[in-house]
């Protein structure tokens, strides 16, 4: 398929530069802007001066089955949490179950562990270092608490056990002490409390091998959203106060937080229509990740390019997947906007900025165009 995109704009570089793109099945990044000889496009899209992003895709047009297939692309967008759990606590000699295998470049640890597991934990870090793998570690991996509330009066009112911020900081401190000892590359995700930023600040002064990330929910939502046990807002770690949210935003501005991800979870209606304690944590949100990022930048007055960079969205053009994004519309998200059957979404009726108008995916070396204008 040959696709021609006219009047596209990139968010970086020369901000007002408008260009055309030419995509055919053998297109490379180098010739994307050069018109090939004897070019005859199958489809011409007028981008109308809207942005083109790559390294991310919008999945709202996909059904549930297709959605599962596209998970790796979502991961590229920064959602590392859908990766397989790789740490097997039941074995004392290895950390992988026999039928499991590490991915090429990373090891994911997000099971809870205890101090008894620390020797194995160091072994994993040492192994990762020798194989040049990145270890993904949940910041709360050593947090013993399964409590559902934060440390505010809202949790007291609702009678939710308190998952205190000091549990997260003590877990993070221990993890960083071990990493400092081994010196391996790590990505620590699910930072949720501002107290953790002090620890990160001190660590980053002398180390650059660790990157830190947090879930976009913790930047846009707060414990006020819990209302009367609204299971849509059940997250682990829990949503914290608005003041905490503001300080986490400062963490992005101060380069303490390197990544923001969608934290997308596949949640069925049934998973949330149960008492709060029994409800699954998490929410869908991968479908509206880019509009959420624009909202984040707008709401907290953060530089947009910085936000996109944190979300690992490339403003350079990568022909494997592209989206054309119209930043000039404001709308409310509802479950009706997406084809996914995972309709439970904590951003239901949330005001968003910008919409993906076209997605171009390279699947099996062929371009496919999905338009929804």
């Amino acid at each position: 398929m040959k696709i021609q995109i006219n009047n596209a704009k990139s968010i970086s570089g020369q901000i007002n530069e408008v260009f055309n793109l030419y995509l055919s099945d053998n297109t490379t990044n180098e010739n994307i802007k050069n018109i090939p000889d004897n070019w005859q496009a199958d489809t011409i899209i007028d981008a109308q001066n809207n942005y083109v992003f790559s390294n991310v895709t919008d999945l709202s047009f996909l059904s549930n089955e297709e959605f599962a297939i596209e998970k790796p692309i979502l991961q590229q967008a920064g959602n590392y949490l859908t990766s397989n759990i790789s740490y097997n606590k039941n074995s004392d000699k290895s950390w992988l179950a026999n039928n499991q295998q590490h991915s090429d470049n990373h090891i994911v640890l997000h099971n809870k562990i205890t101090s008894q597991d620390l020797p194995s934990f160091i072994n994993i870090l040492n192994y990762a270092k020798s194989c040049n793998k990145i270890v993904y570690i949940n910041a709360n991996i050593l947090n013993p608490s399964n409590m559902l509330g934060d440390d505010s009066h809202i949790s007291i009112r609702l009678g939710l056990g308190q998952n205190l911020s000091c549990y997260e900081t003590s877990s993070l401190f221990t993890i960083l002490s071990l990493i400092n000892y081994v010196k391996c590359n790590c990505f620590i995700y699910d930072i949720s409390c501002n107290e953790s930023l002090d620890i990160i600040y001190k660590f980053k002064k002398n180390n650059d091998q660790v990157k830190f990330g947090l879930n976009i929910h913790h930047l846009l939502l707060s414990n006020n959203d819990l209302g009367f046990f609204d299971t849509k807002y059940k997250f682990n770690p829990p949503l914290r106060s608005l003041a905490n949210q503001q300080l986490l935003v400062q963490g992005i501005n101060n380069n303490l937080i390197d990544f923001v991800y969608s934290g997308h979870s596949m949640i069925n209606l049934y998973d949330k229509q149960v008492p709060f304690a029994q409800a699954k944590s998490g929410s869908g949100s991968g479908e509206i990740f880019i509009p959420l990022l624009f909202k984040l930048a707008d709401l907290h007055h953060i530089n947009l390019e910085k936000v996109l960079q944190c979300a690992n969205i490339s403003t350079c053009l990568d022909v494997n997947n592209l989206v054309i994004f119209n930043p000039n519309c404001e709308w409310q998200f509802t479950g009706k906007n997406i084809n996914s059957q995972s309709k439970i979404n904590c951003f239901n009726k949330y005001p968003l900025i910008g919409k993906v108008e076209h997605t171009i995916l390279k699947q099996n070396n062929k371009f496919n165009l999905y338009s929804y204008v």
Partner: protein, 321 residues
């Protein structure tokens, strides 16, 4: 303004889910009706004739369950009490499905106790036509216990809540009664609510609810009018909270010595079941100050008043729309 899901409107009650969010006039209305029933020796009336009250208890209960059954009986209702141990819930049926089944048996009032905080709130979509009464949900609230506590205090202290000093002593962290009592006392204008417990048995930042916190029992009990003792909720404790029971009793158990710091006409309350020798001594529990059995008696009147109010408010709300 956001309307609490337990209300039809600011004036009318639809469910009783929590004391937090219960307007003062509705609370006073229930207490006044309860006093009427208690003053008239819990008479048999037929307010609920032809209606069905279903008791659904996912946790053990003696007082609350019996009080609801008696109250429903006195109001002329049919009573369905489900034994969870032999119900489909024990075969893995979801709470929503269990409740849907009971509601389809023409239940008008569903009395539910559940081990998860907020469980009754998760049923609001399922239960459209019946009324839910929360008989205790996890660590969240136990509204009818708070109502009967307020009823007992009001009757013995001339409803003069604004001048009362009330101490709640013991395992505040895990207690749904403590939360409901704090909200009820605040709603009724009590300005001196004291929580007495070691820090390990208090939620972090509890002061934000407008209460005073004391670690020393003698200081906390100084000149109080009401003492509400709480038991250690062992079934909700996930780790060690106290060194041992003996030391806990020495520091936080109510005995005659500590009682002497309170006012001369203090009343001692306890939601039960009591653990004598742990949070309260025999002497204190059986003293002339103890009103624990009055609480149990008043509990029936309060539950009659609650069910009466729900049915009456439904009629009045429908009249006014």
């Amino acid at each position: 303004m956001y309307l609490h899901p337990q209300l039809h409107s600011k004036k009318y009650l639809k469910h009783l889910l929590s004391i937090q969010g219960l307007p003062q006039d509705i609370l006073m209305r229930i207490l006044s009706l309860a006093n009427y029933y208690i003053d008239n020796n819990l008479p048999t009336v037929e307010i609920l004739k032809g209606k069905t009250v279903s008791n659904l208890f996912f946790e053990n209960s003696t007082r609350t369950r019996s009080a609801f059954e008696l109250a429903a009986q006195k109001l002329g209702a049919n009573i369905l009490s489900l034994n969870i141990a032999t119900s489909s819930s024990s075969k893995g049926e979801s709470l929503c499905d269990t409740v849907s089944t009971i509601i389809s048996m023409q239940t008008d009032i569903l009395v539910m106790r559940h081990f998860d905080s907020g469980a009754p709130f998760s049923l609001l979509q399922t239960v459209q036509k019946a009324h839910i009464i929360n008989a205790g949900d996890g660590q969240h609230e136990h509204p009818t216990q708070a109502l009967l506590d307020m009823c007992t205090i009001g009757r013995l202290k001339n409803n003069n809540f604004s001048n009362l000093k009330v101490a709640i002593v013991g395992d505040i962290l895990h207690s749904r009664v403590a939360r409901s009592d704090i909200f009820a006392l605040s709603t009724l204008g009590c300005c001196d609510i004291r929580l007495i417990a070691p820090k390990s048995l208090l939620p972090y930042a509890i002061e934000e609810l407008g209460v005073k916190v004391y670690a020393d029992m003698k200081q906390g009990l100084k000149d109080v009018d009401v003492i509400i003792m709480l038991r250690l909720q062992n079934e909700r404790m996930q780790s060690g909270f106290i060194p041992n029971l003996k030391e806990y009793f020495n520091l936080y158990g109510l005995d005659e010595d500590k009682l002497s710091y309170a006012k001369q006409d203090v009343i001692i309350m306890h939601p039960g079941p009591m653990n004598r020798g742990v949070e309260i001594s025999d002497e204190a529990a059986d003293s002339k100050f103890s009103v624990i059995l009055n609480q149990v008696h008043n509990g029936i009147g309060v539950r009659m008043a609650t069910m009466h109010t729900l049915i009456e408010d439904e009629i009045n709300f429908n009249k006014n729309i």
